[in-house]
Symmetry: C2
Subunit: 212 residues, 2 copies
């Protein structure tokens, strides 16, 4: 797949590197530091490159939205039309200090995004595990059972594509239903952040759902 990364910070950068390592064509974009895009592309190997948000989105099969919530409007403006695209958001809608969800719990960042780009197919995924765990999970991907990763969305095809990408990076996908579930996934991301950064056990946190 051709994957455009909008937002090459902690999570966008790491996911982009892993997507490229398993054989996807990845374009990194939207870093405060243009050199970082080049060094990321080098790290990620021959299937990766740096570019503008417009470059990243234009020919992409999948667009990963990984900017801070406060930058959403800016990056969407730079990306141009996302009509018809599979858009995976791993954003958590936080204030500038990252201490408080700013979208009321009658909605979610992912649902707000879907209202802003109604012609895109929005899936919410990759926001419930700290970025610090991603490489470790990828390295252990041959060990079962794999850690879970929940995702949700309203478009079946986009969800199927998301499932592939979740598996590619070493997780076991768990379907959390319609995009509306993002209003529970985003706070779950904050619970994970509390466990990862608030305790002594460190940030390399994963979770697994098990049915008895």
């Amino acid at each position: 797949m051709r994957i455009g990364i909008l937002g090459s910070g902690l999570i966008g950068a790491k996911l982009g590197v892993l997507f490229a390592r398993v054989g996807h064509d990845v374009t990194f974009s939207y870093s405060r530091n243009a050199r970082k895009l080049e060094s990321l592309a080098r790290d990620a190997g021959p299937r990766a490159r740096g570019g503008t948000p417009h470059d990243a989105a234009r020919n992409a099969d999948v667009v990963l939205l990984a900017v801070h919530w406060s930058q959403l409007n800016d990056v969407l403006e730079q990306a141009g039309s996302l009509a018809g695209k599979n858009v995976i958001t791993c954003m958590v809608p936080l204030n500038e200090a990252n201490t408080q969800l700013v979208v009321p719990n009658t909605s979610s960042g992912a649902e707000r995004l879907a209202e802003i780009i109604p012609e895109a197919k929005v899936v919410c995924a990759f926001n419930t595990v700290p970025s610090e765990a991603l490489f470790g999970v990828f390295e252990r991907r041959s060990i079962t059972p794999r850690p879970s990763l929940v995702y949700c969305g309203d478009d079946a095809q986009s969800k199927d594509i998301t499932v592939e990408l979740i598996r590619d990076v070493g997780f076991d996908p768990v379907d959390a239903g319609p995009l509306r579930t993002a209003r529970y996934m985003e706070p779950f991301a904050m619970l994970g952040a509390q466990l990862a950064y608030g305790g002594a056990a460190g940030p390399e946190l994963t979770y697994r759902f098990e049915w008895l």
Copy 2:
């Protein structure tokens, strides 16, 4: 411990039975059906009995608040003073249809409760696993690793007591920090509900956090 159950519905009833089976003195209260309290007490064995909310709370070391959110004021009025008590809430603050959280995400049901009974020591626990999983987890309690159960609160002693009770019923306690984290745990309960009741795998759902 002497444990008073306020709200003997799905979760209160099952936790009360398990607490009694491991040797705690349990008083069940606040069911729509007085006969249910008697039959619960019989099921739970000689350490259990039925009573009024006032009976349940008066001599309790621990009070478990397990009513529907809409019944909170009523049960608190019937229970009388909870000053100085360890109060564990497993409530999720939902509307009557159980479709929507009714406390804004700048707070939580548990934090609201602590404002209503400021002299009690409130811990949030037992709300993140479907009631359908409780007996199965208890029966498998000799198998490791056990499923996780997150809890949070601001009083260290109350949290220690909660840890004991979580272990008693077969889970591995995970400290999620201050009571404020309930604003993330309560939506996490809703994510679990979506996975338990919205999918084909059934409601006997557990989760486990693992650090790499």
